[in-house]
Structures are given as structure tokens and as C-alpha cells.
Symmetry: C2
Subunit: 327 residues, 2 copies
């Protein structure tokens, strides 16, 4: 049932395995419960697997609080649905044909359907959150959607620009990725009745994890193997999006900036290969891992005030897993 | 300030005029409060005028309840923002260049921005609703977004099809239009502390008003003058969307169905003109007004259990206004 989850994550999820199965069952139940015209769409989106990291974070965060109730499971479903909805809209505006080796919704059904179905899933996720009855959590959830959309818009307005790159990058990946991680963890802690300092600690943990997670993803985009990843290499760069490895490259070569050369003429594959080569034949990858390591270190520190239990141990193991994703 | 509002609606809105100005002030304040990269977008969308019918309904419905507080004003803002967000996505998927005589967001900024900015506005509207602190109202709001998106998808999947036309039409215009009217009125009543039977009556009133409102719009699409409306005539039909006048036309001519002839070859302007001519030279327009009149009659009946006061009188006047919009 948890088909996107490899052996390592299976172990990390051990304290919440049964609850994650309940989340998965609820998600899979959405298809049959949907109106006829939406059933195939829901089925397609929910069958793509995926590691369910965000719902797992909600459940693990909730595991650190005193109360055991259904609300974190509801929240975990909502968080994953929101994530899936953002992927649909992102793939639509990015003209992406493939995700995890399968056609995107926009590719298979067209952009018209993809926009509207993304809206439907956004709204479905928000309706789920209402079942928790917690206004603070509901508000945080809808603010997250604002942050996600705002982050995507900032990215779009800054494509092919190279100034203030690092500042814009950190801000963008907060909005696009870390924001939802924060919400996943924070709401899990709130819904399990954790005291406020632990709610804040969980939010901070998730901020750092989310930043690290996205930076690893960005590194994989530069390094990865196209067939393994299910998407082309260097995609960010070809779309004019700067990430940590390319930003570090620009800092190393301020005079003959290979990234600016590429942006000036993005149709030349040779220029992309040059950038990828320069990155992979330098210390940049290691430097990226240092930055990622710093964020993971800060995440671990945040957990110091959280009671020691299997969920907390898993959150620490998750840091190792994220750090080592591409090695 | 209330620039989209003509003299007639100005009178109808009399009991809630000050509150509607407060709603407008809050909406106009969104632009300056937005992040830099969004300010121009927000400004564009909020400066288009419009009659603010949905916020007015929220305020008038609230005027029928015993409590006077800020929540209906908050809700009215949210309802209008939601409406504006749906228009942005609709214009994007419909490839519409013009709305109210001005460029659409997708036309001026491109579809990429329009999709993401629509998401941002959807989320902003939902975050507003959280300020009411009322989970029932928040849930109804997010369910409405599901209904809006679902209705648009049903419309898309049924373009250029002619069977079960009337049944699909009623269902579609509930989802696309009446649903938000229901929510506008129902939430206004809830937030002003109205007893449950009156909340339900207000919802039913709004259902009937919403159905009538959309049917008038659909009739104007067939009848209207392109320069007055700010959009081309017969747009629905050219996009394969059946509405009441064209459905009645098909019922009158089952043998040589002029609508099916058009759908078989939509590039022929002659066929569109034929359909428009047949409609305008028949009793169809009057028959549409009878159907619209029935809905308005049912709406008026719903208000019988609502206390008689200026807000209720305005809701009754609104029915007349809607009925007479195109005469």
C-alpha cells in the first residue's frame, strides 16, 4: 500500500506506520467517493506513489505531543492533498509532461482540466482541515497556500535574472517548500496538544528540514540521472531558475559567468553541459552538502526540547536520510 | 468608491451602504498590503468595478439576523475575493482576453501568472474567512470552492454534447454560480446569529436568486450587444456550452437541430447567426423569462419567515432588479 516508500523510510516511519496506512486508506478512498467525472483524475494523482514525507512529518510531530486522536491523521491527508494540488498547477505552468515517470495531469488531460482539478484538490484539502475544528490550524493551512502561490510567482518573475540570487533563493524555497513542511509539523504538534514552546520548536525543525530537503532536490536536479529521476537534468536552469549549486558557481566565476552565458542563449545545449560540468568538477557539490548539513544541524537542535520518544528519534533519522538522499 | 454600482443597485443596497463601503475599503487595502511583486496584479483585479452583488447579499442576509458585528463584513470581502479568483481561472482556461472591457489577467500577464495568482487569491479569501473564527462558515466556504471547480470541470467535459442538456445545465449552474450565492447568504445569516430556520431560508433564497442570476447572464450572452457587454455575443455557444435559450431551441427543433449543426462545424459564423436569429425571432426569450420568474417567485417565498426589515425589502427588490437586467 505504501508503494512510494523504500526500506529506509519504512524504518524511519516505524512509530507511525499504522497511522500512515490509515492516511493512505483515506486518500485512496477519495477516488471512489468522488463525482463520476473526477474519479479517473483523482485515481491518477493518488496512484503516483511518493514517499508521503509531509504526512509522515505531521504524524511524527503529533507523536511528540500528549494527545492521541484522529486529527493528525486528518491533517496528514490534507497536507498530502495540498502538496499534490501544487504539483498539478506547477506542472501545468511549467509545461512539464512527466512526473515520476508518468504523464502529468496537464499532459494527459490538458491544461484546462489541470487548472480546474488543481483548484478542486486545493479546496478538498482545505475542507479536510475543517474536520479538525481548529481555526488556528485551518488558518495556518490557508496561509500556506498563499505562501506557496506567492513563492511560485516570485520564481516566475525572477527567471533568467541573476542579481540578489542567494537572498531570493532562500526566500523562494521557504515559500515553495519549507512553508508546507512547517505547517505539516506545526499543525501535528498543535493537534496533539503539545505545549506552545514545543509547537514552535517543531515549526523551526520543519523549517530547517524543508530548506534542506529542497536544497537536496535542487542538487539532484543538477547531478541526477534523467532516467532515474523521471525528469530531464538541469531543468531548473533551462527554465531560468537559479538554485544553490548554480549560485555558488556564479560566485566562483564572477568575471566569465557561465550561468549568464547560458541565460543569454538558453537554446545551446553546449552551454548547459558546460555549467553542469563545471559544477560537478568542482567543490561546489560538497559546499552544498555543507549548507544542507548546517540546516540539518539546526533542525536537530530544535528537537532538544521535544520529549525523547520513538517519534522524535524518527525525526532525527529523517535528517540523516535527507542528507544522504543522493549519495 | 462603489464604481460598478448603478443608481438602481445603489437604492437596493441602501440598508447596507456603509458596510459595503467598509468592504470596499478593505478590498482596496489589499493592494498596498500585498508583497511588491503582487501589488500591480491585486490592483488590476480590484479596480475592475463590478456590482459587488455577492458581498451585498452577505450583508443583506446578515441584516436579517439579530447580531451586529464585524464578521459579515469580513465574510463579504472573502466572498468577493473568491468570486474574483474564479474569474481569473475561468478567463485563463477559456482563453478570454477581455473582461468588463479590460484585459484579463491571463491576457496582460500570461497564463502562468494567472494560474498562480488565482491560487493566491483563492487562498487569501480562505484566510479572510478564518478571521470569523466560525468553523461551519469556513467549511462551507471551502466546499463552495470544490463546487465551483467541479462545476467548471463538468462544463468542460460536456462541451459540444447535447444529451441530457437541461439536467446537466441546472446542475452546472448550481455549481458555477448558485453555490457561491448560497454561501454568501447562508454565512451572512449564520454570522449575524440568525436562528437555523432562517439560515436555511436564506440559503434557499440565494439558491433561487443564483439560478435566476445565471440564467439572465446566459440570456444576455445570446441577446446582448458586444460593445455594451465588453465581450463577444454567443460566446457560450461557440465554446460548446449549452444554456437555457439554446436548450429550449433544441427542444423546439428536434428534427433539424440548428445547435447540433453548429457544433458539427463551429467555424461557420453563418450557423451561429442562424441560431441567434431563431432564438430572437421566437418565444424563447419570453419562455426564459418565465423560468427566471419562477425562480424569483420561489426566492420571494423563502423570505416569508425572515423578519420584515429594510434588508429583507432590499432582498426582494434585488429579485426585481435581476429579473429586469436585460429589458
Amino acid at each position: 500500500m505504501l508503494k512510494g516508500i523504500d526500506e529506509r523510510t519504512y524504518l524511519i516511519y516505524a512509530p507511525i506506520r499504522e497511522k500512515l496506512v490509515l492516511v493512505e486508506e483515506r486518500l485512496q478512498g477519495l477516488g471512489p467517493a468522488s463525482p463520476d467525472h473526477l474519479r479517473a483524475l483523482v485515481g491518477h494523482v493518488l496512484s503516483s506513489g511518493g514517499k508521503r514525507v509531509r504526512p509522515a512529518i505531521t504524524l511524527l510531530a503529533a507523536g511528540c505531543g500528549p494527545n492521541d486522536n484522529e486529527n493528525p491523521i486528518i491533517m496528514a491527508c490534507a497536507v498530502e492533498l495540498l502538496h499534490l494540488a501544487t504539483l498539478i498547477h506547477d506542472d501545468t505552468v511549467d509545461n512539464s509532461d512527466v512526473r515520476r515517470g508518468r504523464p502529468t495531469v496537464s499532459n494527459q488531460w490538458g491544461k484546462h482540466v489541470a487548472v480546474l482539478f488543481g483548484d478542486y484538490l486545493f479546496a478538498t484539502s482545505a475542507t479536510y482541515v475543517c474536520d479538525t475544528g481548529n481555526v488556528r490550524v485551518i488558518r495556518r493551512f490557508s496561509e500556506t497556500i498563499m505562501e506557496l502561490a506567492s513563492g511560485e510567482l516570485v520564481e516566475y518573475f525572477n527567471t533568467f535574472k541573476t542579481d540578489r540570487a542567494l537572498e531570493l533563493y532562500r526566500d523562494r524555497i521557504y515559500h515553495k517548500t519549507a512553508s508546507l513542511f512547517c505547517t505539516a509539523g506545526e499543525t501535528g504538534a498543535i493537534l496533539s496538544g503539545a505545549p506552545e514552546p514545543q509547537v514552535q520548536a517543531m515549526r523551526e525543525y520543519c523549517y530547517n528540514v524543508g530548506m534542506a530537503f529542497q536544497m537536496v532536490d535542487d542538487l539532484l536536479d543538477i547531478q541526477g540521472d534523467a532516467s532515474e529521476m523521471g525528469k530531464p537534468v538541469g531543468k531548473d536552469l533551462m527554465q531560468g531558475v537559479l538554485t544553490l549549486p548554480t549560485i555558488l558557481l556564479m560566485e566562483k566565476y564572477p568575471e566569465e559567468n557561465p550561468v549568464q552565458a547560458l541565460f543569454a542563449d538558453p537554446s545551446h545545449d553546449g552551454k548547459l553541459d558546460r555549467v553542469l560540468e563545471m559544477i560537478n568538477n568542482s567543490t561546489i557539490v560538497e559546499e552544498c552538502y555543507e549548507v544542507i548539513g548546517d540546516y540539518c544541524g539546526k533542525a536537530a537542535e530544535c528537537l532538544e526540547i521535544v520529549p525523547d520518544n520513538p517519534s522524535r528519534s524518527s525525526l532525527l533519522s529523517l535528517l540523516e536520510y535527507i542528507r544522504e538522499r543522493s549519495r
